[in-house]
């Protein structure tokens, strides 16, 4: 029988943040996960709350929003801890609560975010900036024409990288000879604009180094434009979170879907996974549920209702099924985005009666991530807070 102090279910931003915090405090922590998380599909930016600044946005949030459970001091501590950790892992983030920054998207529109990865720090802030977009022969889902249609002073050029997927091109950017050839070609384009935008394919390992190398030769700022999945910046963030968790001494169990739970009274004792042979279970004193929302696998919608898949916690269901969606597909107000697990101020699930279960991340009810622009940031800060509550419980 394997014993841990804490088992975290889910390997996303919330799970790894909570896990690494607890492991750093000396607890024996394991993360179990079905597969890789939705952060791999994200832009790698940390959105906390839409608005001119996250601070102002947070004040305007409705009372039931999970971010309301956190004090500003905790939020600041979570963000600063994250920035410090990522900086040590050569994945620098800039920004903070006081100002939201804009990041140019592949559609030519802007997204607002709280913390920006270094490779997007030079992203233009207004449409009248003169930018040059580089794209790659055959790269699907990235069309410079979208950006050009919104930027009057923009032009583009196309490079043949010999690969047509983001992963394939990123892999080539890790080779010195490829980078030299690319830079030489780019210099030959005689670009007049002040900034150069490249889809986010500048390698996986030492992206900042690659970016600096191009900036050095072209003598102007270069920025990455986030792409549709597969998203390299999302994967870089995932890799860094994983490395940090492991550096703190945590264990990871891949492909370990939780299929059953053992409990006595108000305590969860163990979780199980199905195997080909003998039963596989892990015991712990406390559990953190960070299994995400529908896409992440934490919630499942049935014909009648919405269920939480691991502990069968009570789920806040916004209305009868007919009212889950609005007619406008692109609306940010679909009622279903409110669905999730209600948490109290100590991040324990409400109405479940478990003493040693904590919940954080996208599974939280009323998050409305699209409406309030809190993707990744909600997970980061609630992960921090759940770890804090869990540590209090354990001691």
């Amino acid at each position: 029988m394997i014993e841990y102090d804490v088992i975290v279910i889910g390997a996303g931003v919330a799970g790894f943040t909570a896990g690494a915090d607890l492991a750093g405090k000396g607890y024996k922590v394991a993360v179990v996960t079905t597969g890789e998380p939705t952060v791999c599909l994200s832009t790698g930016c940390i959105d906390l709350c839409a608005g001119p600044s996250a601070r102002e946005g947070l004040e305007a949030l409705p009372d039931e929003h999970p971010l309301r459970r956190l004090s500003l001091a905790d939020m600041e501590a979570a963000l600063n801890g994250f920035k410090k950790t990522m900086d040590d892992l050569a994945l620098t983030y800039t920004g903070g609560l006081d100002v939201n920054r804009k990041v140019l998207s592949a559609l030519g529109s802007f997204k607002t975010t709280c913390l920006v990865p270094d490779t997007m720090a030079a992203s233009p802030q207004t449409n009248d900036e003169a930018i040059h977009i580089v794209t790659f022969e055959g790269l699907k889902d990235f069309y410079p024409a979208y950006i050009l249609s919104r930027f009057p002073q923009a032009s583009f050029s196309v490079y043949d990288a010999g690969a047509s997927t983001t992963m394939g091109i990123a892999s080539r950017f890790e080779q010195g000879l490829f980078r030299e050839a690319f830079v030489a070609w780019l210099e030959g384009q005689r670009i007049r604009e002040n900034k150069i935008g490249i889809p986010a394919v500048l390698g996986l390992e030492d992206t900042q180094g690659v970016l600096r190398e191009i900036e050095y030769h072209l003598e102007r700022p270069v920025f990455e434009v986030p792409t549709l999945p597969p998203s390299m910046p999302g994967r870089r963030l995932f890799n860094a979170l994983k490395a940090h968790f492991r550096n703190q001494g945590g264990d990871i169990y891949w492909s370990w879907p939780v299929a059953g739970v053992e409990k006595t009274g108000h305590l969860v004792e163990a979780v199980f996974t199905p195997t080909d042979g003998k039963p596989n279970s892990l015991n712990a004193r406390a559990f953190i549920l960070a299994s995400g929302s529908f896409v992440g696998g934490g919630l499942t919608a049935t014909r009648e209702t919405i269920v939480e898949n691991i502990f069968h916690l009570p789920v806040f269901v916004p209305s009868a099924r007919a009212g889950w969606f609005e007619d406008n597909y692109f609306s940010a107000n679909h009622a279903i985005s409110r669905a999730g697990v209600l948490a109290d101020s100590s991040f324990r699930p409400e109405g479940a009666g478990f003493e040693n279960v904590f919940v954080c991340g996208g599974i939280l009810a009323h998050a409305q991530i699209l409406k309030f622009g809190c993707g990744n940031g909600l997970s980061l800060t609630t992960g921090y807070a759940a770890a804090k509550a869990c540590a209090e419980y354990l001691s």
Binding site: I2, T34, G35, M167, R235, S255, W256, G277, K278, V295
Partner: protein, 396 residues
């Protein structure tokens, strides 16, 4: 899980080592769930590129929806193999067990021939790559070891696998000594190749005949109260997973319930308080390359937990890279470039840790990484034995 659960998030593609370096392979999403929609039993298989998959299972480990692309591809590989003539390299590697038995019997001659330029030419003519040296055969196979007895009543049957038997019987002997040290009875049951090389080379019927023979033998030992131990993670995955899922072995479930990874077994005994090893200091800085199939076993990394108990040892755990060799995969000329590029990347990551030596459970990972990095590559058992001062007896 059904291929229709795939939501096309492409996370598996990002995790596919072959896709990263070989543009000819369309990746696990296209080769697995996507192509599955178009595969019909009434038409001959035309998807030759499924043979480019190395079956590392990383796609399955990463899928958030529980789809098993590698399993879908493995089935497609078997179908392609059944409907098309096999290349000499595929045939030879599928029959690796018999080939190695012959090589071991004639070890002094076979090793000398394999090391010469002519030997390499012969290999190449059969489509076998020679970028890294083929491991030398050992004359005294492990299967010739006698069974051992103790009084503790804990008894195990050791499934050693071809690599230990034909190439590194010394590691096998160390494993036996290690188990004896803890007072465990060890027997070496009659056994054949686990069948994975045959599966990997699209030879389902051969794999099944190996599997049935092994299962008949191992199930007798399970009935007699033995636990089955394996040390090769790929053999283990085949015994636990493929015997049930694709080879349709009747006793598979029964065997799987009593089969353990060697380190997993020892760790369980330690956690249950049954044994308490007195590890002594080992001054080494190691990089632990996690074999893909150890990940796929879903048992965590038990050898890491054991090594952590050794004073003086530093061990960096690396589980993001595939060594590229994947058993016989990288030894085929058609996959040589892929395997070498992946090996180079894995070695680069190892070199960044500043480790003086490599440790890995899998013999083929060690072969590849050892040859490309010129560092020593150990089985975790060798380090455990070093710490416990256990030496394998010299043999003639």
């Amino acid at each position: 899980m059904n291929f229709e659960h795939c939501m096309r998030c492409t996370i598996c593609v990002e995790n596919c080592p072959v896709f990263r370096v070989n543009p000819a392979f369309p990746g696990p999403k296209q080769a697995g769930p996507d192509a599955q929609r178009f595969r019909s039993k009434r038409e001959k298989a035309v998807d030759e590129w499924v043979l480019l998959c190395s079956q590392c299972k990383r796609c399955e480990m990463s899928c958030p929806s529980g789809v098993e692309p590698a399993q879908i591809i493995l089935e497609a590989q078997q179908r392609f193999g059944a409907e098309h003539p096999h290349t000499p390299a595929h045939l030879l590697f599928a029959n690796n067990y018999y080939l190695s038995a012959l090589g071991s019997l004639t070890a002094p001659v076979a090793n000398r021939v394999a090391a010469t330029a002519t030997g390499r030419k012969i290999f190449n003519a059969f489509g076998i790559a020679t970028s890294i040296p083929f491991p030398p055969f050992r004359f005294r196979k492990l299967s010739r070891e006698k069974k051992t007895r103790s009084r503790s009543g804990r008894k195990v049957a050791f499934f050693y696998g071809c690599f230990i038997n034909f190439y590194r019987p010394d590691i096998g002997r160390k494993i036996i000594r290690l188990l004896q040290y803890f007072g465990i009875d060890v027997v070496l049951p009659p056994q054949w190749c686990c069948g994975l090389p045959a599966l990997g080379n699209g030879n389902l019927s051969l794999a099944r005949s190996f599997a049935l023979k092994n299962a008949a033998s191992l199930s007798n030992y399970v009935d007699a109260g033995y636990d089955i131990l394996y040390s090769c993670t790929s053999c283990g995955l085949c015994l636990l997973h493929d015997y049930q899922r694709i080879l349709d072995v009747p006793q598979a479930k029964k065997i799987a319930e009593r089969t353990f990874d060697l380190h997993e077994y020892l760790l369980r005994l330690i956690n249950d308080g049954d044994i308490e090893p007195a590890f002594t200091e080992v001054r080494r800085a190691l990089a632990y390359h996690i074999p893909c199939h150890l990940r796929a076993l879903k048992i965590g990394y038990p050898a890491v937990k054991l090594l952590e108990r050794i004073p003086g040892l530093s061990c960096a755990v690396l589980d993001d890279s595939c060594c590229g060799l994947s058993g016989s995969y990288g030894f085929k000329k058609s996959n040589e470039a892929t395997a070498m590029e992946l090996g180079r990347r894995a070695v680069y990551r190892i070199s960044k840790t500043g480790a003086e030596a490599i440790v890995a459970d899998c013999g083929s990972c060690r072969m590849q990484l050892g040859a490309l990095s010129e560092l020593e590559a150990f089985d975790p058992v060798e380090i455990l034995c070093e710490s416990l001062n256990i030496c394998a007896p010299k043999t003639g």
